[in-house]
């Protein structure tokens, strides 16, 4: 059963069409890495899935339930807001620039949404936050403010914060591109452990090592479409599409 499925997804910003026709089905437990040149629409695609961007056309299914359908920018179908919110909660997101809440400590960042969205008690949320922060290797940083943490530590808090809502799938939008090189490894390690635990993941990243080692499928996005997809081996060792070849030549 697919956790997320899109049919003919398109997105335009004014006259600029960023996503043309994206058809993707993400199965439970799958780790998919999306690569591609900048401006290909990778981030926009992730952001369309959890409604940070409004799609222009196409359908989005979550757990095989049609959540939103649009045509030429107009709504054809949309779930009632409360029901939709429940489906959107199945997605957790990690941003390139962390977006931690600077006025909250690490633990408070993780506790905020469970307390206010899921009505979890403070004690329970705190215990869960401590467990998650320990899991991402920050057992000694519970009560630090984000400004006192390194980029890599902040990104790991952000991962814990998303996990606290117990999502079925995690969306990673270039999670390591804003980090100093020596801090990338810690974040990738956490992501790898998450994948090993069976989390379904959709990752926009240029970390080829991670893609080769962890991904089940690699998608190459270019000009608003998925130009090529396959196993990491197929994409990296034997790309078929000339655009894929060209891109890999530049970055490898």
């Amino acid at each position: 059963m697919s956790i997320i499925r899109t049919e003919h997804l398109s997105k335009s910003f004014g006259s600029l069409q960023v996503l043309k026709d994206i058809n993707l089905s993400v199965e439970q437990g799958e780790v998919i890495v999306i690569i591609g040149p900048s401006g290909a629409g990778k981030s926009t695609f992730l952001r369309s899935l959890n409604e940070l961007e409004t799609i222009t056309g196409g359908k989005i299914f979550i757990d095989e339930q049609l959540v939103e359908e649009r045509k030429h920018g107009h709504v054809v179908f949309t779930l009632p807001p409360k029901e939709k919110a429940a489906y959107l909660l199945e997605m957790g997101m990690v941003f390139q620039r962390f977006n931690l809440f600077p006025h909250k400590t690490a633990a408070e960042n993780v506790m905020l949404a469970p307390i206010n969205v899921k009505n979890v008690t403070k004690e329970e949320a705190r215990a869960r936050a401590e467990a998650l922060l320990t899991k991402v290797g920050l057992e000694d940083k519970f009560d630090e403010y984000p400004s006192k943490l390194s980029g890599g530590q902040q990104q790991r808090v952000a991962i814990a914060r998303a996990l606290a809502m117990e999502p079925k799938i995690m969306l990673f939008d270039e999670p390591t591109s804003a980090l100093d090189p020596e801090l990338v490894g810690d974040v990738l390690k956490v992501m790898q452990e998450l994948a090993e635990d069976g989390m379904t993941m959709l990752v926009v990243s240029h970390e080829m090592g991670f893609a080769k080692g962890v991904a089940d499928r690699v998608l190459f996005m270019c000009d608003g479409i998925i130009a090529e997809e396959g196993s990491p081996d197929e994409i990296f060792s034997n790309p078929q599409n000339p655009r894929t070849k060209q891109f890999l030549n530049v970055i490898l």
Partner: protein, 219 residues
């Protein structure tokens, strides 16, 4: 020595008038803060009529002289609608100042809210918080600290602007000083009055500096 005795004798009246100035300032700014938050949220709202109303309000109250607004509320409104006659001059002044200052504070609050990084709202949304929850729990708490210095500035301006109420015969500090100056034919009175104004602004500034520190703990 004689001068000092004179000044000493004026002090009770001056202190009483300082109380009026202080009360009017604090009451107006606090009322304006509440009104200003709603106006600011209205101005950044996606709801067109609400946005338009808030913008029109701000446009009007920033675009006309406070003195005229004071006249309008005290003289014109009771003439047009007798039911809205306000007996107390102080209350008239309080309403005029609150309405006026709210327009300025709304812009301060709006700017502070909009200066919070867009990623904060996106992160809140991706965690399932509603727009109202995101504003209350994430955006506005971060905006507080940025509002403090300009609000302090506004406080100090209002404190001095309250001297306009003399025009509707509210006995504030400046008006009292003028009464004494003309009755006793002594312009000496302006010296203690200026000192009192300085002490009052000094107190505001100190309080706001403390507040700013308190809200900066996480930086």
């Amino acid at each position: 020595m004689e001068s000092l005795t004179k000044i000493w004798n004026w002090m009770p009246a001056l202190l009483k008038a300082s109380g009026v100035t202080l009360e009017l300032t604090v009451a107006s700014v606090l009322t304006a803060l509440v009104l200003g938050i709603f106006l600011a949220l209205g101005k950044i709202s996606k709801n067109k009529p609400i946005k338009w109303l808030s913008s029109a309000y701000i446009f009007f109250f920033r675009g006309t002289p406070l003195l005229l607004q004071l006249f309008f509320i005290y003289y014109s409104i009771p003439m047009m609608v007798p039911a809205l006659t306000i007996q107390s001059r102080f209350v008239s002044a309080w309403i005029a100042f609150s309405l006026n200052v709210a327009a300025y504070l709304a812009e301060i609050i709006r700017a502070a809210i909009q200066s919070v990084d867009k990623g904060q709202l996106e992160a809140s949304k991706s965690l399932g918080l509603t727009y109202a929850q995101s504003m209350r729990l994430v955006i506005i708490p971060q905006a507080y600290r940025r509002m403090i210095p300009p609000i302090c500035n506004e406080f100090v301006m209002v404190l001095k602007d309250t001297s306009l109420v003399a025009i509707i015969a509210v006995t504030d500090l400046t008006f009292q000083a003028r009464i004494i100056a003309s009755n006793k034919a002594s312009t000496l009175v302006y010296i203690p009055v200026m000192i009192i104004y300085l002490i009052l602004t000094g107190i505001f500034t100190t309080v706001f500096n403390r507040l700013e520190k308190k809200f900066s703990v996480y930086e």
